[in-house]
């Protein structure tokens, strides 16, 4: 959460959390129930039940210059911990734009499950990779759509 050194696992976790944060609720619900293959999700305790609040979005023009307040965005976040007998029960964290509490719950649950070593490979293949591919396809489609309308301006050299 805070500025911890980026170990390979934390970089990976950041990547899958980004995928979960960008996935709409319906897709997430379907993908998670498909990945769990009918097994009911494990029990968990809320450390922070889903809550909606405002976050100040800050920006810099051109990536440099002084940061300014761009505006406030509605975000929903949640933190849960799986109930397990192990000393270190995995903790799932989720945060996304909007006010969908169920979506935060699903994303936090998926984040926690992905940290279980015995489930990681299966879930990553069944859940994260399809969702990531879907997101990438959407982005490419949008980029292509925008690119097709690109207009290049140039001035003809007038001969004289």
């Amino acid at each position: 959460m805070s500025a911890s050194p980026a170990t390979p696992s934390s970089a990976m976790r950041r990547a899958w959390m980004a995928v979960l944060a960008h996935t709409p609720r319906a897709d997430l619900e379907a993908a998670l129930s498909h990945a769990l293959e009918g097994v009911s999700p494990p029990e968990f305790d809320w450390l922070r039940p889903p809550e909606t609040g405002l976050a100040m979005v800050r920006g810099r023009i051109g990536g440099s210059g002084d940061a300014f307040n761009l505006g406030e965005a509605t975000v929903t976040r949640a933190t849960l911990r799986l109930r397990s007998a192990a000393e270190h029960a995995p903790v799932g964290v989720a945060c996304h734009l909007g006010r969908d509490r169920r979506r935060a719950e699903l994303a936090a649950l998926a984040d926690a499950l992905l940290q279980l070593p015995e489930q990681h490979a299966h879930l990553h293949g069944q859940l994260i990779e399809p969702l990531a591919a879907q997101l990438a396809a959407q982005r490419t489609a949008r980029r292509d759509e925008a690119a097709s309308t690109r207009v290049e301006f140039f001035t003809m050299v007038r001969g004289d």
């Binding site: 959460m1 805070s2 305790d45 450390l47 911990r81 007998a85 192990a86 000393e87 270190h88 029960a89």
Partner: protein, 216 residues
């Protein structure tokens, strides 16, 4: 095991895997606790009870903090990112819970603290080290939460002042003798001063800066 060593080595990391949950219903629970805190501070000497706000049974794998329930509930209610907290005795579980649930920064310097929790009253620092506020900003003083062994059964203290019709008597156990002496020495500095809560289990007594205490 990997996480354990990492957390032990890096105290700035919140130990999430052993963190205890906060209020189950944050809005209403904090309102109820705030009401209790306000009532006990406006009627010095009355005993306030903090009940049914934090989960009684702890989830598995949770590290229990040592702090008493009332102190913890008060800190979770009053603290936010703008109120630095000073813990007189290190308590990793309490520190993690405060940082996670309230976002309050933990400070090493007593003078910077807006709230201080003293688990062992015998180790209470001298009052001059705390922030007393300034004449223009008396609200910038510290509020102390001092854990005592019991709220009755100790030496009798007669209280008088605003919020008390004539006098009222309390008898907390476990406060050092210099507490009352140093507290009395702050009285001429009003409006600056220090507000205290004496905490024991789920009960607490408020001692605002305006209350005069006489040790019998």
């Amino acid at each position: 095991m990997d996480n354990l060593t990492k957390n032990a080595m890096n105290p700035s990391q919140i130990a999430l895997s052993t963190l205890a949950p906060g209020f189950t219903d944050p809005v209403h629970d904090t309102q109820a606790v705030f009401r209790t805190l306000l009532d006990t501070l406006s009627r010095p000497g009355t005993v306030g009870v903090v009940e049914h706000v934090l989960p009684a049974s702890q989830a598995t794998g949770t590290h229990r903090w040592h702090a008493d329930l009332a102190a913890l509930a008060a800190l979770l209610t009053l603290c936010d990112y703008s109120t630095p907290v000073w813990l007189a005795q290190p308590d990793a579980a309490l520190a993690s819970a405060l940082r996670f649930h309230t976002g309050a920064p933990l400070v090493d310097d007593v003078h910077d603290a807006a709230f201080a929790y003293i688990h062992d009253a015998a180790l209470l620092p001298e009052f001059e080290h705390f922030s007393l506020g300034a004449a223009e900003t008396p609200e910038h003083s510290v509020t102390l939460l001092i854990r005592v062994d019991a709220l009755s059964g100790g030496p009798q203290i007669v209280l008088s002042g605003p919020g008390i019709e004539r006098t009222t008597t309390i008898s907390p156990v476990g406060l050092p003798e210099h507490f009352w002496r140093e507290r009395a020495s702050l009285a001429p500095l009003f409006p600056c001063g220090i507000d205290c809560y004496l905490v024991c289990g789920s009960t607490l007594i408020g001692l605002p800066r305006t209350t005069q205490a006489k040790v019998n």
